[in-house]
């Protein structure tokens, strides 16, 4: 039966069955009943995602090493990096909030990037990645929890709030983080998960 079901796909939002068809470049197949996106055609998907993943990891390292924001009020200078706020929240006894911020802004992007690296590098060299099914399933389930783009809005709001009382100097890490957001978004768009799943057939 596997032979037939390979060419059939069920809509994940309304369960209607569709026959898979090849799509034009950049095309999207939508469910005829509820309009959900079923699958997309992504040219050079895995190569693009690999390139973006490597770029993302480099940016991630820069974003975590260099100063993020510097706060200056007269002679007092307060330099921070990405982790400062999380550590400070932890010291204030807000370990739940600290944990939530740590997971959504640092841990999830890092796990997604390294997970994709472990999957895509072996595939590039025609090898079967280690524990591919489990790894890709886990990486996919992390998607809703990476919130770097929301963090950017948070920076903007905090900046406006503080700009009247002091000067805020953006650091190297902030620029790296901003580019990282676009790289993560681009790699989410470029990925066609069905190509990876087909490796398991």
């Amino acid at each position: 039966m596997g032979r037939y079901t390979k060419f059939i796909i069920a809509c994940h939002e309304c369960d209607l069955l569709h026959q898979s068809q090849s799509l034009p470049v950049g095309g999207t197949a939508r469910c005829v009943r509820c309009g959900a996106a079923l699958y997309r055609h992504r040219p050079n998907s895995l190569d693009r995602v690999l390139a973006l993943t490597v770029a993302g990891l480099i940016l991630f390292i820069i974003a975590n090493i260099y100063p993020f924001l510097t706060f200056r009020i007269e002679a007092q200078i307060q330099e921070t990096n990405l982790m400062t706020g999380i550590i400070e929240l932890y010291h204030q006894g807000m370990w739940i909030v600290a944990g939530v911020v740590l997971i959504t802004t640092i841990l999830m992007p890092l796990l997604q990037l390294t997970g994709m690296l472990f999957i895509l590098v072996p595939l590039k060299f025609q090898r079967r990645p280690w524990k591919l099914a489990l790894l890709f399933r886990t990486v996919r389930s992390f998607r809703p929890w990476g919130m770097t783009e929301v963090f950017m809005i948070g920076i903007l709001v905090a900046g406006v709030k503080l700009v009247k009382m002091a000067s805020i100097i953006p650091g190297t890490a902030l620029y790296a983080f901003m580019i990282l957001i676009f790289v993560l978004a681009a790699s989410a768009v470029a990925l066609d998960p069905h190509i990876v799943w087909k490796e398991l057939d």
């Binding site: 204030q92 809005i153 948070g154 009247k164």
Partner: protein, 215 residues
């Protein structure tokens, strides 16, 4: 849109679509009450998300309860020259309106007050409509579900604002900012509503469609 009396869904032909890799698997009736796993990716197979309505209701109600302390308790405490001032989410919004930065006021209001409520009301509406086997605009209701899935993450904005304020404003006796207990409940609301949207199964909207047509 013409409605097919018994549409060709995976469930109607005893197939289960893997929620992770979307491979279709045949399930024998004898497997009904046994755990079945996807032969390709190893994920547990479910025709519909297990106990979707009960779980989603539980999470929605929990989030409604958390929403109250999240808004009543202070989210930040500013200590400046020995004087302490506590701010709730709403007093932050009012501060921005008064100081003239109304676009920022709007961002905080939408992300922290409006979006969580919108999400909770939409999910409640979807749950009630599914329980009543409503025939009303299934396509639009599926769209509502997509909205609840997409907007939830943006509510995290205020938590991040607090994180950055706490990191930057540590000026000893001059001024320090501390996170208030409201932040814990607010983070709770955001996390719980994301889980609530995940546990709701939009296919139930379409299943109700069918069962009514058969009558």
């Amino acid at each position: 849109m013409p409605v097919n009396p018994s549409p060709l869904t995976a469930m109607n032909v005893s197939l289960i679509s893997c929620h992770s890799c979307h491979q279709l698997s045949k399930v024998a009736p004898s497997d009904k009450n046994r755990a079945v796993f996807c032969s390709r990716c190893g994920a547990r197979l479910h025709s519909r998300k297990p106990n979707s309505i009960g779980r989603t209701w539980a999470l929605v109600i929990a989030a409604f309860i958390f929403y109250i302390p999240a808004n009543v308790l202070p989210i930040t405490k500013v200590v400046s020259f020995g004087k302490a001032q506590s701010d709730t989410i709403m007093s932050g919004v009012i501060y921005f309106v008064k100081s003239g930065s109304w676009p920022i006021a709007l961002v905080i209001f939408v992300a922290s007050v409006f979006v969580p409520l919108l999400k909770l009301f939409l999910l409640s509406f979807l749950l009630i409509s599914v329980q009543r086997k409503s025939q009303w605009r299934p396509k639009d209701r599926t769209r509502f579900y997509r909205i609840t899935e997409a907007v939830g993450r943006w509510s995290m904005t205020d938590i991040y604002v607090v994180t950055i304020l706490v990191a930057l404003v540590k000026l000893g006796s001059l001024a320090t900012i501390e996170a208030g207990p409201g932040a814990i409940f607010f983070a709770g609301v955001v996390i719980i509503t994301i889980f609530a949207a995940m546990s709701f199964d939009p296919r139930l909207i379409w299943d109700a469609q069918e069962s009514n047509n058969e009558r």
